[in-house]
């Protein structure tokens, strides 16, 4: 396969996944902000979201206030913000258009249709009228394009790149999601501003679980009350939890093995090492190391892994 084709597929996949996860993250904050918590905590929630996405500065350039509607607008339809849902879906579509010949007709039409639908929705103010429903729609379209790709594409190199990129992006996004709370209150767990807020802390973790569709899974796995450590364990270490770091890394490594070329040996080792740490890691260990520190390191390594993959496969020699 052409390196350029692989590159476009890689980014098409990442941007689709990113749009979905941004919608998930926004939805958590949006749902949480409907709770009767203090204004300060509400603000911290949105601030955390911007910080973890490394978007505080560009946001401040555009807005004086930090509130739900401005942040959501910035993260959904701001065209100068490359991480906004609009920009992600546009980039996914442009990348798909550049390699539409390497996709099945159905995959291309699904992605193009998402883009065309989005235009209609934004024009019709559907997002402003009902943010929750809009986020549902973004998730649904992402499910659909992934399903169509898995259901129709030949399982060749193109498909492996497509899948690998999804898992890489997801690992990054889940790690950021888990870290949102820290960025808001500068503490892993019980650092909320008042007694009342502390009680609502539990809702934050429930919201996180819901955002990765893991609330019912949690109940099924632990059959117990919601405890932050267990949430972290579920989303970091469980191999059978589809959006966990462990499962995501497994997806990266599995596809990477199929793609191996003469240059990629070191990258495979790098990814394999990261996976094995999740395979054999324990939540107590991670907690005593510090959740935030762990996640920060993890994000750095995921970033390095992405760069390595680029160098081995995507950049023309």
């Amino acid at each position: 396969m052409l390196s350029r084709t692989a590159d476009h597929l890689f980014w098409m996949s990442r941007y689709t996944e990113r749009a979905e996860n941004t919608a998930r993250m926004l939805d958590v904050n949006y749902q949480t902000s409907l709770l009767p918590q203090s204004v300060a905590v509400d603000q911290l929630g949105w601030e955390g979201m911007l910080r973890i996405s490394e978007l505080m500065t560009p946001y401040r350039d555009l807005h004086d206030q930090l509130n739900a509607s401005d942040v959501m607008h910035f993260m959904v339809r701001e065209e100068t913000n490359p991480s906004s849902i609009v920009c992600c879906l546009k980039a996914a579509r442009e990348n798909a258009r550049a390699v539409r010949g390497a996709l099945t007709t159905e995959v291309w039409e699904t992605i193009n249709d998402t883009w065309l639908d989005l235009q209609r929705k934004l024009k019709g103010k559907e997002f402003e009228r009902d943010p929750g429903k809009f986020f549902e729609w973004v998730k649904f379209r992402s499910h659909l394009s992934r399903g169509v790709a898995i259901g129709t594409m030949l399982q060749d190199e193109a498909f492996r790149f497509y899948r690998m990129a999804t898992f890489l992006e997801r690992a990054d996004n889940t790690a950021r999601l888990l870290d949102v709370k820290f960025h808001a209150v500068h503490s892993d767990f019980y650092g909320a501003a008042s007694q009342l807020d502390q009680e609502y802390d539990i809702y934050h973790w429930i919201a996180i679980l819901r955002s990765v569709s893991a609330f019912e899974v949690y109940r099924k796995v632990y059959r117990d009350v919601i405890a932050p450590e267990r949430v972290a364990e579920l989303l970091i270490l469980r191999a059978d939890m589809p959006r966990s770091l462990h499962a995501s890394l497994k997806g990266v490594v599995g596809n990477l093995e199929q793609l191996a070329n003469q240059a990629s040996g070191e990258t495979e080792r790098f990814a394999g090492k990261l996976l094995s740490e999740l395979q054999y890691g324990q939540i107590d260990e991670i907690m005593s190391f510090g959740l935030h520190t762990f996640l920060t390191q993890f994000l750095t390594r995921i970033n390095q892994l992405g760069t390595r993959i680029s160098q081995d496969f995507l950049l023309p020699a």
């Binding site: 396969m1 052409l2 390196s3 350029r4 084709t5 692989a6 442009e94 258009r97 550049a98 390699v99 539409r100 010949g101 007709t105 291309w108 039409e109 193009n112 249709d113 065309l116 235009q119 190199e157 790149f161 793609l259 070329n261 003469q262 496969f313 995507l314 023309p316 020699a317």
Partner: protein
């Protein structure tokens, strides 16, 4: 003007031509609201499939980008089998002669030596590529994919009878074939019953014929050639077509940046290292193909490509330097070429053409600007053209000055009243002018899928069918007996 045109469907008001009878009867039974709904459905599907073209410096109706739909008309253009049979022979004859001509001018130049085509017309032409002199291309084929623009118009000075004329030969990188294919797909999707009632010759095998053609002209060094389509990229107006053809043929769609030359061969960069490329169906103009020889600022080509090509280690389709044969200044000589190379009478007619370089003709042109179509010899796409009867006095005067300043830069033809075909317009159905572009493939043999792309000028009275000037398309039916 419309009054004097030949209408493809009606011989006279209320009198439907034989080959349109079945369709006209069907159309009469369709409720207008159903047809309107079908039209909307077609647009929605075209947009979802992304069958769009880019217009430079324009925004689409969403204001979001530069992608536009080419309007698709629901009423097909129908060609009876006997007319098609003759046209098909005429096309093969014409394209064969043009390929012979190209081989000749880049080798022995017999036609120039015989004085049939003035030497300076060729050697002074910017489309004449000296780099191609003495270069042998596989099978002697230069224009593997040719798009020949044909119109039907009343014979000048005749009694109202109409005939087909070749308006232009496109031998470089003719586009539009994807619309021919997609229009048919759309018609079959919208109106399946029409295709059980009418015996419409299929066109869907075009990509197979194209691949067969490309493989047939591969360099001698390989039995299983790697074919690619070379595109300028996704912002090119015909990008959809490039991607479409690559996908339909199951070959890679490459950009210049994907290619490089090493040790006398062309390679593409893949995730598994370099892979040799044998045949390039290039949709990039000559000037941009090789920055080391032609335009050095081109990022669309591949440095060193020409060298590999001249060595015969890669085949370019179409060949470099075909533009000299489809230039408007060469067009008047095509009937002579057919006689010279094939010893045959031309089956398809040329439009009578006056050449500015010829003093006698120039006088006539200047005296009759109001009635003529004047064309810049190197113009394309409906630009650089004066349609006398549809122009203001000021426009005519501008052109007069331009022609006077550079007489050999212009040709002129009588204003042909292109035939019309009933077409959906705002207030119902009305006749609109159309042309036809069949696509002629030359490899081991010369093949044409039945019909071609019918373009329609949607503005009332307009004779300009180019998509860049607001033209639309129609499905084209060749009815089998």
């Amino acid at each position: 003007m419309t009054r004097h045109s030949f209408d493809e469907m009606y011989a006279a008001p209320e009198q439907v031509r034989e080959h349109y009878k079945k369709y006209a009867a069907w159309l009469a039974q369709q409720p207008p609201d159903i047809m309107a709904a079908r039209k909307e459905e077609a647009e929605m599907i075209f947009r979802r499939v992304g069958i769009t073209f880019a217009v430079y410096g324009d925004k689409d109706e969403e204001g979001a980008g530069t992608e536009r739909l080419i309007p698709f008309d629901l009423i097909p253009r129908v060609i009876p089998a006997d007319e098609w049979t003759v046209m098909e022979q005429g096309l093969a004859q014409r394209v064969t002669a043009l390929n012979r001509f190209l081989h000749d001018i880049y080798h022995d130049q017999e036609i120039l030596n015989a004085g049939l085509v003035p030497r300076e017309q060729i050697e002074g032409n910017v489309q004449f590529r000296k780099e191609m002199l003495g270069v042998d291309v596989p099978g002697g084929v230069y224009s593997h994919i040719a798009g020949v623009d044909i119109v039907r118009a009343p014979v000048p000075g005749g009694q109202g009878e109409a005939q087909y004329y070749v308006l232009e030969d496109n031998l470089r990188v003719p586009s539009g074939v994807s619309y021919m294919l997609e229009d048919r797909k759309m018609m079959m999707r919208l109106f399946p019953s029409l295709f059980t009632q009418n015996r419409v010759a299929p066109v869907a095998h075009y990509p197979d014929l194209l691949l067969e053609t490309l493989r047939a002209v591969s360099p001698a060094h390989t039995a299983s050639p790697t074919v690619v389509v070379l595109t300028p990229g996704m912002y090119n107006s015909a990008y959809f077509e490039h991607a479409f053809l690559a996908q339909q043929m199951g070959v890679e769609l490459v950009e210049g940046q994907d290619l490089f030359v090493k040790d006398g061969f062309v390679y593409m960069r893949t995730t598994r290292g370099p892979q040799r490329v044998d045949v390039i169906y290039r949709r990039v103009d000559d000037d941009f193909l090789d920055p080391s020889v032609f335009r050095s600022d081109s990022a669309l080509g591949c440095a060193g490509l020409l060298d590999v090509y001249r060595k015969g280690n890669v085949t370019l389709c179409n060949a470099i330097g075909t533009g000299v044969a489809d230039d408007k200044s060469i067009y008047p000589y095509v009937p002579k070429m057919i006689e010279f190379y094939l010893g045959e009478k031309p089956i398809l007619h040329n439009v009578p053409t006056f050449m500015g370089r010829n003093p006698q003709d120039l006088k006539y042109i200047l005296a009759n600007l109001r009635d003529l179509v004047v064309k810049e010899v190197h113009g394309a796409g409906g630009y650089g053209m004066l349609v006398g009867p549809a122009s203001t006095q000021a426009q005519i005067e501008d052109f007069r000055q331009a022609v006077l300043a550079k007489p050999d830069g212009y040709i002129a033809q009588p204003t042909l009243s292109l035939s019309t075909c009933p077409t959906y317009v705002k207030n119902g159905i009305a006749p609109r002018h159309i042309d036809l572009r069949p696509f002629v493939l030359s490899g081991k043999t010369v093949q044409t899928v039945p019909g071609g792309l019918t373009r329609v000028a949607l503005k009332e009275g307009s004779l300009v069918v180019n998509s860049s000037q607001g033209g639309g398309t129609k499905d084209t039916w060749v009815l089998e007996p």
